[in-house]
């Protein structure tokens, strides 16, 4: 997945644990191979290559379900969280801090819009040049899927961590919660919050590694489909929910919203969360200050 992944489980014997772990890592590898945007042989790449094809592409039920969830995110966020905004990321060169021309942005914006895609049952049709990116959804889904699989294999205690997206298999063997540290953006050794998890999942979104400074303003790699610019609201958000997938969607939507709106949206969600805003202030609810 191109990030640090860790699965901790407790099993009756080391042999059992090894067998279960290899089955769980297989599931991570399966989803990575299927939905990675950075692999030429992934199914997602194949989907993106089908853009503009009249008859579209045949998709399986798992991909349909992911698209159902993506559509739900799109509608819930009034179009802000749009998995079809991938072409925008491609024109922004974060490495060399190059701003694309307005013409490039305009061109990219014509290719996106979740409402333009259609899928009926197993056939998906993407308009020409549209690209899909399941960022904010698929890694979180993988964490939940691995946790569920572990429970099915009889594991009662464990934690899945896929690059900062956590899904709890079950509490620690002595019933203590799992303590997850949330790293502050661009201060790698600094933990901005600790969240104890007994169940469900935790997902984070932020301008951790890739961001952009422009006229003294900081922009994350998360793209606002309406402006064509990276979003400039909160710097980082972590959300806990009954599923890591839900937490990831909420965190991504919060990142896309304007700062003040985002804080209210998080509050309204009723979910425990921690954020860092543009003034480097850490806040949130459902948590206890420990400064």
């Amino acid at each position: 997945m191109g990030s640090f992944c860790e699965i901790q489980i407790f099993a009756e014997s080391r042999i059992d644990a090894k067998k279960i772990l290899s089955r769980l890592t297989e599931e991570v590898a399966r989803l990575e191979k299927k939905y990675s945007r950075f692999r030429n042989d992934s199914f997602l790449t194949e989907i993106n290559r089908s853009a503009g094809r009249k008859h579209g592409i045949e998709i399986d039920s798992e991909t349909q379900s992911l698209l159902d969830h993506a559509k739900n995110c799109y509608e819930t966020s009034d179009g802000l969280f749009d998995v079809t905004a991938a072409t925008l990321s491609q024109i922004w060169d974060f490495k060399n801090a190059q701003i694309p021309t307005q013409a490039q942005i305009d061109a990219a914006q014509t290719t996106l819009g979740f409402h333009k895609i259609s899928w009926s049952d197993s056939r998906l049709r993407l308009p020409p040049n549209m690209q899909i990116d399941f960022g904010g959804i698929v890694k979180e889904y993988a964490a939940d899927s691995v946790a569920r699989l572990a429970r099915n294999l009889g594991v009662n205690n464990g934690l899945v961590n896929l690059g900062g997206d956590f899904s709890v298999i079950g509490a620690q063997p002595d019933n203590r919660p799992w303590s997850t540290g949330i790293i502050a953006p661009d201060r790698e050794r600094d933990i901005m919050a600790k969240i104890d998890l007994l169940q469900g999942g935790l997902a984070s979104s932020g301008d951790y590694e890739r961001f952009f400074m422009h006229k003294g303003k900081r922009y994350s790699h998360i793209m606002n489909p309406f402006t064509g610019w990276p979003c400039a609201g909160l710097r980082a958000v972590s959300v806990a929910a009954n599923l890591c997938t839900v937490a990831g969607s909420v965190a991504t939507i919060a990142m896309l919203k304007d700062e003040i709106v985002a804080k209210q949206w998080l509050l309204d969600s009723g979910l425990p969360h921690v954020y860092m805003d543009s003034r480097q202030t850490v806040g949130g609810t459902g948590i206890n200050a420990n400064s």
Partner: protein
């Protein structure tokens, strides 16, 4: 500043979160759907079925020992990809003993039985079947094909079935179809004037409904119809003439309840059967599945069975009857009752599981719930003992 949170998750009442959860919960890796096995399982079971010898008062001369059958069953179930499983079953049976050849009237005027052949019968049966099951989000469907061979019998069969869950998986509806085409070519046909080569076909359909009542109990009811046509008689009996068509219907019900305090489950089953040979039967059985710790289980079981006679059953063969008239002295077509009891011991060691089963079966016309106008000879008593081992890897 550092914050520490103890995320206590209550269900969010935010409409947005409820909406987002609805599609997340439908994702296949998360949804509580049917799942194919994630491990392979290899099983082996050895069973011995031993019928009690008949007494000299029942058999005036010749062999007294009846069937003794050893059965070896192998099964391999393996996941294939994410949504499928495959299974291979291989069975081998070896059989020896003697079976009723014809019935007649003994010196005391009571019917007696004459068993086949001085040296009895010796035969073996080999069977191979392969199948696959495909798992969907809310159910599964499966198919299998198989082949079975004895030195006087050959069967080719296939089956298709599927099930679907409704009502948050509390209700399951299942259905299926199977078909078998069998060839019968008795040994020593010329010597004993038996039929040389006959065939029969069976088609069967079933539907079943399973309802989970609450956390500890469930109920299932199922209906099946089977239509057989072709040679349905016993070619080894001196006189056995049965209709060439048979329609069977069976209605099965099962109730299961787990008792938390006892750490045990009660299974109660009842089955009614009817066919147009004229046989009605009732089977009821009850078993108690007692867990002993996490690794052991003991299951005592008791069953009662009773059936009425086929319309053309006779306890003394009438060789003066024309061949066009149906008649059979097969004890399985007589009115009788049977009581059987037994137990299973199960040891579950994680990747190993062993099951030992012992059963005693006693058929007797006195146990019948139906009137007996013609008590049959040679009703069966048997012991069955089996030992099975499953290995998951």
């Amino acid at each position: 500043m550092q914050l520490a949170a103890h995320a206590t998750l209550k269900n969010s009442d935010s409409a947005n979160i409820i909406a987002l959860s609805s599609t997340a919960l439908a994702l296949p890796g998360i949804a509580l759907a049917d799942a194919p096995p994630t491990q392979s399982t290899a099983s082996y079971k050895l069973s011995n079925y031993q019928e009690d010898d008949l007494s000299r008062s029942e058999v005036p001369s010749g062999e007294l020992n009846r069937y003794d059958i050893d059965v070896h069953q192998f099964q391999l179930v393996a996941p294939m990809g994410r949504n499928m499983s495959v299974h291979v079953d291989a069975n081998y049976e070896s059989l020896s003993g003697a079976s009723p050849w014809f019935t007649s009237v003994g010196l005391d005027g009571k019917p007696v039985v004459n068993l086949s052949g001085a040296s009895g019968i010796s035969d073996s049966r080999s069977e191979l079947s392969v199948g696959t099951r495909y798992y969907l989000d809310n159910g599964s469907f499966a198919g299998n094909i198989g082949y079975s061979e004895e030195n006087d019998y050959r069967a080719v069969y296939f089956g298709l079935n599927g099930e679907r869950h409704y009502n948050d998986d509390l209700t399951t509806l299942a259905g299926g179809f199977s078909y078998s085409s069998d060839d019968i070519f008795p040994t020593d046909a010329a010597l004993f004037n038996r039929v040389r080569d006959e065939d029969k076909r069976s088609s069967s359909v079933f539907v079943s409904l399973t309802q989970i009542i609450n956390q500890v109990s469930s109920f299932q009811t199922a209906l099946s119809f089977t239509e057989q046509s072709g040679f349905l008689s016993d070619p080894y009996k001196l006189r056995d003439v049965r209709p060439e068509d048979k329609t069977q219907i069976a209605w099965s019900n099962s109730y299961r309840r787990f008792f938390v305090a006892a750490n045990a489950a009660l299974h109660v089953n009842y089955r009614f059967y009817h066919d147009d040979f004229g046989i009605n039967s009732h089977t009821s059985d009850v078993s108690w599945h007692q867990n002993l710790g996490r690794q052991f289980q003991i299951v005592p079981q008791l069953r009662y069975y009773s059936q009425s006679a086929a319309d053309f059953f006779t306890n003394v063969d009438d060789f003066l009857n024309p061949l066009s008239e149906y008649q059979s002295s097969d004890y399985r077509l007589s009115a009788f009752g049977a009581i059987s009891g037994g137990f299973s011991l199960i040891a579950d060691m994680g990747s190993w599981k062993a099951t030992l089963t012992a059963e005693r079966y006693l058929a007797n016309d006195k146990y019948s719930a139906y009137d007996i106008s013609q008590p049959s000879t040679a009703l069966v008593k048997y012991n069955r003992l089996s030992l099975g081992v499953d290995f998951s890897f």
